[in-house]
Subunit: 300 residues, 2 copies
DNA sequence: TACCTTATTCGTCTTTTACGAACGCTAATT
DNA sequence: AATTAGCGTTCGTAAAAGACGAATAAGGTA
């Protein structure tokens, strides 16, 4: 066994991209190096793993086997690091995390709350900043980790997907807005609204947006779950603003989904960390934790 | 994750030996290199894995975790190679295997038979030679793999345990030989014998040894299993020669076990392969297979 | 006290590995 | 039909990693 973990990570990346160059980039290698490494790997295993095609690569059967086991092996080692965390020397006790408004008002409270519960000794220093500012601070090493919205940022940071979601308007199928592609928020403040319980993040958020337009939302119903929101809307009680992911699989309901054409409706959040600096174990742990969190419809 | 597979193998070896120097040797590293590697590993994991004591090392709790996961990860990769075997390029079709008399007449037929069944395209070229001769041929690369008896051989070969067993004499507890430390074969050819079915390897072997002394064994009973042999002997039917491992756990029977003081009674068999040459996948597979075989009492 | 075992440090040398530039190949484009 | 764009590979060079042996340190043992 003469290959190493970089080979495995590279191979996984290449396999998932079906593209050697892109895969190489994901593990910070030049294409030439990647090509060389994979050739060595194939030589050591005495097996062809990829078929090189003019537009990328595809896996052979042997490649599938390697992909599967490589993933498993790396997962084992990730798990190891995770379990190792409590024993880590020089245990870091605080992390500076900056996040944009969206993140701080939506997903973060829940996620961080859970994380802090799991790690009682940890202190988070959480601040709200603009995405560009956050990325710069991460690049300069002023903070360890940030959560931002934009994709195009300071190229000195490494990005991981955090949440991928957007707020949409749902209306009954026969509503006069039904079928519209997208809509501005100010076009709908006068419609009757179905919203979540007072105090929920999205409730507050929506009310604030309306207030900024000097409007007062016409609240027809307040309910306790996204499920209930959808049902109310489909029963013609009113319209509602909800995360797209919490509605997409309610196909049995007579709903029409409309994009909201506002910057705040986009909620693709990315985690960014310094590209070059070695991450402390606590940051690694936090990053691991946050990237594991999936969108949980109905929680927001 | 900046460590590599060598680190993991090294760590496992060191952990199992509780000794850095010996562990290093197992993975063909100088102690200095091993020390350096493990220090790096500890640095990368930000965790102390070993406590260095004057007589070797012991594992910390973190070390235990690493040991467990490292083993699992490596096992995954071994499994991968194993599954990969059928896809291997330049699939080797024959292997030269030399073995000493013992091995050829005892364990090998069974094990090789099974192996060949699993690999229908493989041809084995099996020859019988003396252990030293075999080791030299392996060292020179004339044959890929050998099975030998002695431990002290040409140091250019790498050894793996194959079978660890020895033939012993069993007699009834009240037999006049009972309690003896050891005995020569010629001292017992006149006792009545219980032996395995005609045709079994050990039967043929024993008969041949007697014939070499110009004696004819006094066969009192032939039975079909080692279990039966033990029962017959404990019932005073006669004495018997059996593999030690097939008798050791028959404590309820009134048996006395006596060493046989002959070279052929030692059946510690080792597999040897070339220390420096990269092993072909077929040889790897065979080696993997043979080292997995455990002594199966009652099979011989 | 002298000695042994075992791990570590240091300086040197070899091997490994990454990179960029040039190249070859194929499919899509003009 | 010629051109362009996307990909993977090859090659030479430069830098980094890694292995080794000798010397060292630290703690038990005879």
């Amino acid at each position: 066994m003469k290959f190493d973990l970089i080979d495995l990570r590279l191979f996984i990346a290449v396999a998932e991209q079906n593209n050697l160059t892109k895969g190489a980039e994901l593990v910070f290698l030049a294409p030439s190096s990647a090509s060389h490494r994979i050739k060595q790997l194939e030589a050591h295993l005495e097996t062809q793993l990829l078929v090189r095609e003019p537009r990328g690569v595809t896996l052979t059967k042997a490649g599938d086997i390697v992909l599967r086991h490589a993933k498993k092996a790396l997962a084992t080692l990730e798990q190891m690091q995770s379990e190792l965390y409590p024993f880590t020397d020089s245990m870091q006790t605080h992390v500076k995390l900056w996040a944009n408004t969206n993140a701080i008002h939506t997903y973060l409270p829940d996620d961080l709350g859970q994380f802090l519960e799991l790690h009682p000794h940890v202190k988070l220093i959480l601040e709200e900043h603009g995405s560009d500012e956050i990325a710069d601070a991460v690049a300069k090493g002023e903070i360890e980790i940030g959560i931002v919205a934009e994709q195009e940022l300071n190229s000195e940071v490494m990005l991981f997907p955090y949440k991928h979601d957007r707020l949409v308007l749902i209306v009954p199928s026969r509503h006069k807005l039904a079928g519209a592609e997208s809509i501005k928020f100010d076009q709908l403040v006068d419609f009757p609204f179905v919203i979540l319980n007072e105090g929920s993040a999205i409730h507050t958020f929506t009310m604030n947006k309306a207030a900024m337009l000097n409007k007062h939302l016409n609240i027809r119903a307040q309910v306790k779950s996204f499920d209930a929101v959808c049902r109310m809307v489909s029963s013609n009680v009113g319209v509602a603003i909800v995360p797209h992911d919490s509605v997409c699989h309610q196909h049995e309901l007579a709903l029409s989904i409309i994009e909201i054409d506002e910057t705040w409706s986009k909620r693709d959040l990315m985690i960014c960390v310094n590209k070059h600096k070695e991450l402390g174990s606590l940051v690694t742990e936090l990053l691991r934790y946050l990237t594991k969190q999936k969108v949980r419809p109905g929680t927001l």
